[in-house]
């Protein structure tokens, strides 16, 4: 007859057997299967416990306690085994290495043209001062390009910007200033715009390209002054050339453009020598960056704006030149050749 102590011995043996069974197992699935073999409804522990009913009631609690101990032992063995396996896997994973000096798989690598980058930056700087962006056609009427800007035919100023013609009254715009005219025709003051765009002149050497990019600015409102022009340019120069540590000065030098009066050339203090004189500023301490002035009353008359009530200023600068000054580009042709040896530098 089976006794309680027999059953307890059997149960304890099962615990030892289980340890032996799972020792070589290396994956969770087989370990769980082995666990079911011992602890499942039809498992070996259940088989032993079927004998429980035959024992005297006084022996049953002790056997029950033994069965629970075995179940705990097996569960603990499973957990320990799984933890050990996981640790081994992690250790193996962490033993993995790559050659971190191998090249990266190419990603991105695209970029905007330097002139686009500079233009977007300029537009952003002027946007801080409330300037909107305006555009106009590149093939323009003679009227918008010259006549409306107080440059009649035979005017000497037409020499300053030798013109490509498409027809008698149609030209490739020589400056972005016709956008001033189109804007003033389309919008009553207040006006505050910048107009970036390409322009064309019959000029071709190391510093001139037959196509190049200008940015034009126009402010028309009541009470606009020369001092406002100076302030806007000063803000622009110090924001755009912020890398110089600020403190750049702007000098307005009297000049003549038919569509502004007074008209000025814009100089900024040389950011390389900070005014001391160097090769880039030809020793003058100043670098010319564009032209500007107060909108001429004759231009206002062309677009029907009352020049007694409104005043305004306009300025124009070459974007290539700004990029040259800031990025050291030494040949204007490089911008337009699609040469990746140049383009990829920016």
């Amino acid at each position: 007859m089976t006794t309680g102590s027999d059953l307890i011995a059997q149960l304890e043996r099962l615990g030892d057997e289980f340890a032996a069974v799972i020792a070589p197992l290396a994956d969770e699935q087989t370990i769980r299967a082995a666990q079911a073999q011992f602890l499942g409804k039809k498992g070996q522990v259940s088989e032993v416990m079927k004998e429980l009913g035959r024992l005297p009631p006084v022996d049953r609690p002790l056997v029950g306690q033994a069965a629970n101990r075995v179940k705990d032992t097996i569960a603990a063995a499973v957990d320990a085994r799984l933890v050990a396996l996981a640790a081994a896997r992690r250790a193996a994973d962490l033993a993995r290495t790559v050659d971190v000096t191998l090249p990266g798989r190419p990603c991105g690598g695209g970029h905007l043209h330097l002139l686009t980058q500079v233009r977007l930056e300029l537009v952003g700087i002027f946007a801080e001062l409330g300037f909107a962006v305006a555009e106009g056609p590149q093939i323009e009427t003679d009227w918008h390009t010259f006549e409306a800007l107080a440059i009649p035919k035979d005017h000497p100023a037409r020499d300053m910007q030798d013109t490509f013609y498409v027809a008698d009254e149609i030209v490739l715009r020589t400056h972005t200033s016709p956008v001033q005219i189109r804007t003033m025709q389309g919008h009553p003051p207040p006006i505050r715009i910048v107009a970036p765009g390409v322009v064309y002149r019959r000029d071709d050497d190391a510093t001139h390209s037959p196509m190049f990019t200008q940015i034009e600015g126009l402010v028309v409102d009541e009470g606009v002054r020369v001092s406002d022009l100076k302030g806007v340019l000063l803000h622009f120069v110090n924001r755009f050339y912020a890398g110089s540590g600020g403190g750049l000065d702007v000098r307005l030098r009297p000049s003549y453009f038919p569509f502004v009066e007074p008209g000025v050339e814009i100089d900024m203090s040389c950011r390389f020598c900070r005014g001391g004189g160097c090769r880039l500023c030809k020793g003058s301490g100043w670098i010319e960056i564009g032209g500007a002035g107060m909108v001429d009353p004759d231009v206002f008359a062309q677009v029907g704006i009352d020049s007694e009530r409104y005043t305004g200023f306009a300025f124009g600068m070459g974007i290539e030149r700004m990029a040259m000054l800031r990025h050291g580009v030494n040949d204007i042709k490089l911008y337009y050749e699609g040469d990746l040896r140049f383009l990829d530098q920016f």
């Binding site: 093939i139 406002d228 100076k230 038919p258």
Partner: protein, 815 residues
């Protein structure tokens, strides 16, 4: 224009004489940009004025002379060996380069033996000092030269001086002469201009002749010639001009010729008034008439060229024929010659446009025409005539006929210009004191008359034709006040028009850069050949570019109608530099004739300038380990889809197109928007087109018309799915020509709302397993319901229904 510093100072009375640098700075600040300063005497140093006190033949050579010179009165003589044939008489002055002196080119002199006789330095010729062309002998100063012994040679030669290169604004014709610049310098520095005053000399040099009897002047075309002043100078001898006089002309860039010609040039540069000297004996009838040319008339100009004239040309005629193209060039028949003894001097003003037109048409820009084009003050003519007459009489040993013939039919009245203090201050942004405004204008030579409080009436000097409006006066007040004294302020912010342009071009640029491409910017024009590479048939909307009328080169012949040729040419250029893998894009305008415009010839209205975005891919994808992976059509399409998504363009469709001339007929598609509108083209560039542009290997491209894309609307959120999706695959066997889009269309045609996504997972051909002309496609369809978890049975039922439709309608077999 070239400005000689000593000449300028002669015309100024300044309380404190500035250095040349100070003068340059003042003029630049006043708007007369100094583009360069040349020190005329910088070429040599140590050369001094010396007097010949003895000379004898060299014992060893009959070509050499031993010359004794002194460089200080009463000093010891030094014996110098001289090889020149023109060693002057004792008492004349020469230029001695003693040991230690340096000459142009860097030679430093020392004592050395010449044919056995020691020579401490040398006596110099013009060539050796680079002050002239005369190599025939040493420089001998004029007998009456007053330069002291021992003085720097520069002083004697008139090169102890500077030449400033002045860039005068286009509207300041008055600053194309030393007098005008002197007026500016005096206004800027606070001095008084001193014009030449020839009147006393006119009297002293007067001949017993009367100009009115020797010259009759009529102006038939007073609009072309507002004023004509003539003087007659008699008894002249043609000879070279004195050294320092000639040197000034050289300094301003004019070659001295003879005294008669040199004087007219001298006065031109001094006063800004061009002059012309006629040989009086060749002016027939002693009559000058100013008129327009007749159609078909011709004359020979003094350069010997026969000129065919047009009715817009203004002529100076004598009693019979044209003798000069007014303001542009004299005639061959009447110019002064070495035998000229009597000169008819012309000092006139001509209408700028007329001169400009003639000078341009004949390609004859000259110092004279450039000044007339900018406008010459008619009030200057009598002074210039008198000044030149005196100089001619002095330099040519002649006498001046009494009086000038001055024809000035309609002297212009210069209306005074009202000026308001308040407006001045408001425009500048500075509270300039009233007295400063007034003083500035007075310094510039204006008459300023108070006209009530804060108001003036201002009459500018006749030389300042550019001052006609209040704003012109304000500019000059500001010039004198100084821009440096204007503070920097910011304009009051009033809301103007918002963004006036769509920024789609920049959004496209950013998207394409993000896709890994480099942006190119190419010219708006191109050669005809480059355009022709597209192979467009006549009548194609892009086949008829607008031509540039006056290109500088063949590369600027026509405006581009497509971004493609320049981009493919850029590929070729990169390949030629060894860069085989090229991924470029450009976003920019192309230029198309407006509908209804003639297809050829010049347009009569502006063009359409649609914005395009174009991409070219050549060579392989960015290289990594392993074999290069050449770009293919799918790369181009992937970039295009990325771009369309970035621009919020919605779904785009691709329809095979074999009829696009510049694309490979089998690798080309039109790109359609959701509404069926054509957005652009995609494919492989036609081998013939790319070869013509210089590329040997495949180039994949697309070209989108940005304006055809639907305007983006703010994206609206769809509910994030709360229930899981189920995927089912179907493998189909199809006839090869059936496009993938067909399967997609059939699935879309079922309008099955549970379909969330359709993806082509695999596509391949295998004649052995699938049969010739067949292909296999594995499609993966994702199903989801927004409100519940779909059961397997539900998904299976929908999927099988779709598969049945695919089999029937595509048609296809299930594999």
């Amino acid at each position: 224009m070239k400005l000689v510093w000593s000449w300028l100072l002669e015309l100024c009375d300044l309380p404190l004489v500035p250095t040349v640098e100070e003068g340059a700075r003042a003029l630049t600040g006043g708007g007369l940009e100094i583009e360069g300063i040349v020190d005329l005497g910088a070429g040599f140093s140590g050369v001094v004025v010396a007097e010949v006190v003895g000379k004898r033949p060299h014992p060893g050579s009959d070509k050499l002379t031993l010359v004794d010179v002194i460089s200080a009165r009463g000093g010891a003589a030094t014996q110098v060996v001289c090889g020149a044939p023109n060693v002057p008489a004792l008492g004349r002055k020469v230029l001695w380069a003693p040991p230690g002196a340096t000459l142009p080119g860097g030679l430093t002199l020392a004592t050395k033996a010449v044919k056995g006789v020691e020579s401490p330095g040398m006596l110099c010729s013009e060539i050796e000092l680079a002050v002239g062309d005369d190599a025939g002998g040493i420089i001998v100063l004029d007998a009456d030269d007053g330069t002291p012994l021992g003085a720097r040679a520069q002083q004697a030669l008139g090169v102890a001086d500077w030449v400033l290169d002045v860039n005068a604004p286009a509207n300041r014709g008055d600053c194309l002469g030393h007098l005008g610049l002197a007026r500016e310098l005096c206004a800027l520095l606070g001095g008084r201009v001193v014009p030449p005053a020839p009147e006393p000399d006119l009297e002293a040099l007067a001949a017993d002749l009367d100009a009115a009897a020797l010259a009759r002047v009529s102006i038939t075309d007073p609009s072309g010639c507002p004023r004509y002043v003539a003087r007659v100078i008699d008894g002249l001898t043609v000879r070279p001009s004195p050294r320092r006089f000639a040197q000034r002309l050289r300094a301003v860039g004019v070659r001295p010729i003879s005294n008669l010609v040199d004087v007219t040039n001298y006065v031109l540069f001094e006063l800004g008034q061009p002059l012309h000297a006629f040989d009086w004996h060749h002016v027939r009838g002693a009559h000058i008439d100013v008129r327009r040319a007749h159609a078909g008339e011709h004359m020979t100009t003094l350069d010997g060229t026969q000129r065919v004239l047009e009715p817009t040309d203004l002529l100076i005629c004598d009693g019979e024929r044209p003798v000069a193209l007014a303001g542009v060039m004299g005639g061959a028949d009447s110019e002064v010659s070495p035998s000229t003894t009597r000169v008819l001097l012309e000092s006139a003003s001509f209408e700028p446009r007329s001169i400009r037109r003639t000078a341009r048409r004949l390609g004859l820009p000259s110092e004279a025409s450039q000044r007339f084009e900018r406008g010459v003050d008619p009030e200057l003519a009598p002074l210039a005539a008198a000044r030149a007459a005196v100089l001619l009489a002095r330099l040519g040993g002649g006498r001046i006929a009494r009086g000038a013939v001055d024809v000035y039919p309609r002297p212009p009245t210069r209306p005074s210009v009202p000026l308001r203090l308040a407006r001045t201050r408001a425009l500048i942004g500075v509270e300039i004191p009233a007295g400063d405004c007034e003083a500035a204008l007075v310094r510039l030579g204006c008459d300023v008359i108070p006209d009530g409080a804060g108001h003036w009436r201002v009459t500018p000097p006749s030389a300042r034709a550019d001052l006609t409006r209040e704003v012109d006066l304000i500019e000059d007040i500001l010039r004198i006040h100084g821009y440096a004294n204007v503070p920097a302020t910011l304009p009051a912010l009033h809301v103007g028009p918002a963004q006036l342009v769509d920024d789609i071009a920049d959004r496209a640029r950013r998207a394409l850069a993000a896709a890994g491409l480099a942006e190119a910017i190419t010219f708006g024009f191109q050669s005809r050949d480059r355009h022709a590479a597209l192979g467009l048939p006549a009548g194609h909307p892009r086949a008829h570019p607008v031509a540039v009328r006056n290109p500088m080169s063949a590369e600027q012949a026509v405006m581009r109608t497509s971004l493609l040729p320049n981009l493919v040419a850029a590929v070729a250029r990169n390949i030629s530099f060894g860069i085989a893998d090229v991924a470029l894009f450009e976003v920019g305008a192309v230029f198309l004739r407006k509908p209804g415009q003639p297809l050829d010839g010049e347009p009569t209205e502006l063009c359409d300038e649609p914005l395009h975005a174009a991409v070219v891919l050549a060579g392989a994808r960015p290289r990594w380990l392993g074999a290069p992976q050449p770009w293919d059509y799918a790369d181009a399409r992937g970039v295009l889809e990325h771009l369309a998504r970035s621009l919020g363009a919605g779904e785009v469709r691709f329809v095979a197109a074999s009829d696009i001339p510049y694309l490979h007929p089998g690798v080309a598609a039109r790109v359609l928007g959701a509404d069926g509108r054509v957005l652009g083209e995609i494919g492989e560039v036609h081998p013939a087109a790319r070869e013509r542009l210089g590329v040997d290997g495949p180039v994949f491209m697309f070209d989108l018309t940005l304006g055809a894309l639907p305007a983006p609307t703010p994206a609206q959120m769809r509910a994030v799915p709360r229930f899981p999706a189920s995927a089912r695959d179907v493998s189909l066997l199809l006839d090869d020509p059936i496009p993938a889009a067909r399967v997609r269309d059939v699935i879309a045609g079922t309008a099955q709302v549970l379909v969330e996504a359709v993806r082509l997972a695999e596509e391949y051909r295998d004649p052995a397993r699938l049969g010739r002309g067949k292909k296999s496609m594995l499609w993966s369809i994702t199903y989801r319901a927004p409100d519940r978890t779909l059961t397997d049975a539900e998904v299976d039922q929908v999927h099988e229904a779709i598969v049945a439709r695919l089999i029937a309608e595509t048609p296809a077999e299930r594999r």
